[in-house]
């Protein structure tokens, strides 16, 4: 399976492990992990698009469509300060919420 261009920055193993401690079927666990991954993906895209100006957004989605990770990173590093940190922070914030949800369930 192809990874997202930011996959190396986000570790979801803590969530997978927490789900592993719950009594879930394999299908249920996979479904929940899919929700996590998709939520992270949306949150990251939202953050990036919100940081870019209108013209740069257009350029970014074109690069996203081309699936050329190197091009994407060259572009983002030029356009957004501390982009890697911002992606990590976005993911961490969401992961905290998800862990809280697991504890409360």
């Amino acid at each position: 399976m192809k990874k997202a261009f930011y996959s190396h920055l986000i570790d979801t193993s803590s969530i997978s492990l927490a789900l592993g401690d719950m009594e879930l079927t394999q299908e249920e666990r996979i479904h929940l992990i899919s929700l996590v991954e998709s939520s992270l993906h949306h949150a990251v895209l939202d953050m990036i698009l919100s940081e870019l100006n209108e013209g740069d957004r257009e350029e970014f989605v074109k690069q996203l469509a081309d699936e050329d990770d190197e091009k994407i990173w060259n572009f983002l590093n030029k356009k957004i300060d501390n982009i890697e940190k911002k992606i990590r922070n976005t993911a961490e914030e969401l992961k905290k919420e998800l862990h809280k949800d697991i504890k409360e369930s």
Partner: protein, 286 residues
């Protein structure tokens, strides 16, 4: 049977996912539309708002999927349906105003390519948006029991536990006998709903007319939270007003819509389908 823990967490994460997805789409719709139409990259909103909120069966689709399929296009439509309905429906579950009903009718008619209306022949129910509860199976013909009720082992394992109502539906049996039962009659029970016919305006004064009008009348049910829609038939009257529920669905209807009874119950839209030539099939709308 899904565990309570799973359902609780799933519901929470589906809501969270929806909020995140809506935020993304509200702010960046133009660019995301371009992305979903012009590339093999994922249709971000589609996956975000629909597939993943449905069921474990959808696990093969994820944010990294790179192949755009026909199914994805369908999901895109549903994503917009969810957003459109969210913009129309009130935050509280109350009867819709005429304007709201007209807007919902337009959206549903457009998205499902059928004539969907809150009122037909100047007859309407007491509401078109309300909480749905779970009903039991109904006897389709004299002698129908739980052991004869299902067409396959799979159906038995999925729906046996709901049991059969001790009484008959409001229109009594769906068919005169097992031998004479048509597929349509079979499906009427499978996809039946119970609605509060007795709360319709003028129902008591024009009882026979209303009874005949409602009998097996087709209605489109839509779960506005996941965009799932199903064509149903009115097969019973109920639930009682004191239950706090506004309509009931057969086990098959509830399962498809992903609605649950009890503390987790949720709302659905229920609108008449104008289908004078009986061309629209009962069951899930794909």
């Amino acid at each position: 049977m899904a565990s309570n823990k799973y359902l609780k967490l799933k519901n929470k994460w589906v809501d969270k996912h929806r909020r995140i997805s809506e935020s993304l789409w509200t702010k960046h719709k133009k660019h995301l539309n371009w992305l979903s139409e012009n590339s093999k990259q994922l249709a971000v909103g589609s996956l975000g708002s629909l597939i993943l909120i449905s069921s474990p069966g959808a696990q093969n689709l994820n944010p990294n999927q790179t192949v755009k399929t026909e199914e994805q296009s369908l999901i895109d439509k549903s994503t917009f349906l969810i957003t459109d309905l969210k913009n129309i429906l009130p935050s509280e579950i109350r009867p819709l105003t005429s304007d709201e009903e007209a807007s919902v009718s337009a959206v549903l008619s457009r998205d499902f390519n059928m004539n969907v209306r809150p009122e037909i022949e100047e007859k309407r129910l007491n509401r078109s948006y309300g909480l749905i509860g779970a009903e039991q199976h109904l006897a389709r013909y004299p002698g129908d029991t739980m052991s004869s009720h299902f067409d396959s082992q799979e159906e038995t394992s999925l729906y046996y536990s709901s049991g059969m109502a001790p009484g008959l539906g409001a229109w009594r049996y769906f068919a005169n006998s097992k031998e004479s039962m048509t597929e349509e009659e079979n499906l009427r029970e499978k996809y039946y709903i119970a609605v509060q016919t007795f709360l319709a305006k003028d129902f008591s004064q024009r009882f026979a007319e209303y009874r005949d009008f409602f009998r097996f009348r087709k209605m489109l049910l839509v779960n506005p939270d996941n965009g799932r829609a199903i064509v149903t038939a009115i097969g019973d009257a109920g639930p009682a007003a004191w239950t706090g529920k506004h309509l009931g669905g057969s086990p098959e209807v509830m399962s498809y819509l992903e609605r649950y009874d009890g503390a987790q119950r949720g709302p659905v839209l229920y609108f008449f389908i104008d289908d004078p030539e009986n061309k629209i099939p009962l069951g899930p709308v794909k």
